[in-house]
Symmetry: C2
Subunit: 498 residues, 2 copies
């Protein structure tokens, strides 16, 4: 979920200086329009990792916009009066009125997250808190409140480096937090539960925006742009339209610096032939061994492949099945849905094919077609693929909860490699069937697909079902990475039950 | 929540025989239209009390409609295959296709309800199950499935009588159920948790319909009519319209036999003056005593009055405050919202006035204005007052969870009594200010108000915050019932903490 916010987004000073004046002016003007219309209030929730610029962002918004129309509230230790009322009372009394903006720092999400990290509530308790928050937000939105939820993020390394620098800076050393961020375990837990919360509380009426906080300029522009787009959309919508349309049009991650998730892969990785042969034999033997384990005989295994055309999905699958008895596995090839399948909810055909306990199923393409080809080619509406992310997360959650080991691969190649392989396919008689007009057409939409892939990974790579991005320019490297990742995951599942 | 389904609804044979032929024909024709359009499937969930006619209803639907287009599935003990898959898999595989109808008997709600009654899951566990079910239903509706959820109800006495009759009937004695319904405790738990589930899972896209199951004719007509109206609404709506409009137009309870909740009150109840004086002194002394208790010093008390115009709210309140020191209580009089209040979500002005720990607040009219006067007079949209029920339930839940003792009174008089009191007020100089043009206008809408009151009680009388309906034709009777109910509730709250 945080993949795209850990790749070091940044904006150079020149670009930043060029963009800020117009952004500030537009924000100010939207703010005054908001005040004049006085039709709805704006509520901004700021959450995320320590040191990712939460406080700085609030400061910046007050500089960029008119601070008289913004009210910042920080909900730390409750006052006596607050303790004498229901928990939500402290938030209700600070709600901004129509035409104004409220920023809630240390809000209901901070509370539940810290409670979970400290073990004060368990999994079901957290689910209950999230559903309470959802009811509150649903009601606020129904009453017209425009909600922005920001998660300011930092990778673990960057956070550690940052805390180190704070410690040596007298101006920053006041930063104290009930959570001991110096501990690496704290970060892990915080991110794990944070991801769970975001996954379950990102709704079309109040989605989360994840912003990488490493670079101050990137962070500032990202927050400013999300706010501006959402505000303008809501201001230009009539009351009636707002009831049915969504003000949140910005994508989960803004493409401000043109640095996409797939661009951050090191595509030069490769393996020598001899080394490959040795590792292939090793990993295949390991797979055979692992699949025999009694733990896995009680659990299903589902391995799923998506990837660019000609990225080598088929050959990667063959390196898995090559080691196995055909009765041990089943391959599900996913193509366009049949008439019967179209008569059911779209996920039905996948539910129909998940492995039962003790079985091993390989999906060649999958339910992710919904947010890839169906999105890019317009086979389903934006509304449909937007809600598909949470439908998919729910689907995978249920599989993992019931014991299925789920492994998801994206096989990535660059455009040059794809061209090479397409040409080679056309030149080789027995490979010619593998290349069609459609493949060439898809190629023209490379950027659209890249975008869709990044969105997909950001929204569906979860702690319980992470994506593995495989650098597949070199087929040997890709096959070994696939096999090894699969084996590592199976091993971890077995270890966990020991 | 089940109030209106415990008053003995029934339909006489003549009315029934006159209505059924047209209803059957319309249902059949809707069913064929559904098949021809093949745009969406229908899913019917049947739940409720043992003996309330669940099985009979399914049988009837198959008789009335074309059974070839209906598929009934009963989810009892899971099969081996089902156990080898995630829990929802058994439901997915049985989903009806577009154009057809599926009836799920013993569905996800039966499962979670039984698990809770048997103590296999706790409160948070139940909340988690409900939120899982909501995600499933949300997805199904987004995919076009038209869902009907029926709760077949019986009061405890009627259920007991029914089970008795089954026992003596060889054709019925096969009825065995994992729950031991003979135990009165089983009924109580089942209804308590059932109400919790209904309250949290009744959404605009898939609301619950509560049907009293005592009288077979009433039950059959009620289910048939809800189905027909919902089906026709959905069939006559285009795909695009369906995305934004709701197919469920029927009210929670159908007014088939013209027997409303308020009609079921015994309005002749009265008290002699001497008896009244004695009881008044007794209850007032009891109140003073109770409010001094250390348990209540740590909890807030909120007493709330709604009722017909001239039902005697003011004088009932004075019988409470008469016993107390003015520093002990606060009266909140609710009128039309001010400009400042209109700038916040509608519940804000009530949140603002709830008692803090140790305080006693009396509301003269309340947040229920939203679903009474604002609904009837059109001061808010149907959409707004419809969602207000669940907003209110959530609001009250939070108060009760935080320890507030909440007591809700509806003071009911009949039309003749009201007319008498209006005339008396006009004739008495110091009472004349109490009667306005508006009161006379409201009187013209007596039936609309009665309807709104019944809906309100059905949807917001919950185990944690029940309504007390007070027969107020006789003022003395009403005042004593109010005081005694208040005292009993306070006593119960104190007992519970002992």
């Amino acid at each position: 979920m945080f993949e795209s916010a850990e790749i070091g987004h940044s904006i150079d000073k020149q670009t930043y200086d060029a963009q800020v004046p117009a952004l500030r002016e537009a924000l100010l003007s939207a703010q005054y329009q908001l005040k004049e219309q006085a039709r709805f209030p704006v509520l901004i929730l700021i959450n995320g990792i320590e040191g990712a610029g939460k406080g700085e962002t609030i400061k910046l918004l007050n500089e960029w916009m008119d601070p008289r129309l913004i009210r910042v509230d920080s909900f730390d230790t409750p006052t006596d009066e607050e303790l004498a009322h229901p928990p939500a009372w402290r938030y209700w009394r600070k709600l901004p009125e129509k035409g104004r903006t409220g920023i809630f720092f240390g809000n209901w999400y901070s509370k539940m997250l810290e409670d979970r990290v400290h073990g004060r509530i368990n999994k079901a308790g957290l689910a209950l808190q999230i559903s309470q928050a959802q009811r509150l937000e649903r009601m606020l939105c129904d009453e017209g409140v425009l909600i922005f939820k920001f998660w300011m993020h930092l990778s673990k390394d960057r956070m550690m480096a940052r805390l180190e620098s704070f410690r040596n800076d007298p101006l920053q050393s006041w930063r104290i937090n009930p959570l001991d961020w110096q501990q690496s375990k704290t970060y892990d837990k915080f991110v794990r539960y944070g991801e769970y919360i975001l996954r379950h509380s990102s709704r079309e009426f109040a989605p989360w925006y994840v912003v990488e906080g490493t670079d101050e300029r990137y962070r500032s522009l990202a927050v400013g742009r999300v706010l501006l787009e959402g505000l303008q959309a809501a201001l230009n919508t009539t009351e009636d339209e707002r009831r049915t349309s969504q003000p949140h049009t910005a994508p989960l991650m803004l493409d401000l610096d043109r640095l996409g998730l797939l661009d951050s892969l090191d595509m030069t990785q490769a393996l020598e032939k001899a080394e490959y042969k040795y590792q292939l034999a090793t990993e295949q033997a390991r797979l055979v061994q692992l699949l025999r384990h009694r733990v896995l005989r009680k659990r299903g295994v589902l391995v799923m492949f998506e990837g660019h055309d000609a990225a080598g999905k088929g050959s990667a699958i063959r390196r898995i099945t090559g080691a196995l008895d055909p009765r041990q596995y089943r391959i599900v090839q996913v193509a366009a849905p049949t008439q019967d399948e179209l008569a059911k909810p779209w996920l039905w055909r996948f539910w129909n094919n998940i492995p039962e306990r003790g079985k091993f199923t390989i999906f060649d393409r999958s339910w992710y077609g919904r947010v890839l080809v169906e999105r890019v080619e317009g086979f389903c509406s934006p509304e449909e693929w937007l809600r598909a992310y949470s439908e998919i997360n729910h689907f995978e959650e249920q599989m993992v909860d019931s014991g299925i080991v789920l492994v998801k691969f994206w096989l990535s190649i660059d455009q040059d490699t794809q061209l090479e392989r397409f040409k080679e396919r056309e030149a080789t008689p027995f490979k010619r069937f593998k290349i069609t007009e459609e493949d060439w057409r898809n190629r023209d939409k490379w950027d659209d697909y890249s975008h869709a892939v990044a969105d997909m990974v950001d929204r569906t790579s979860t702690e319980i079902a992470p994506w593995t991005l495989v650098e597949a320019n070199d087929k040997r490297f890709a096959r070994i990475k696939v096999l090894r990742t699969l084996n590592d995951t199976l091993e971890a599942a077995i270890e966990k039950e020991r």
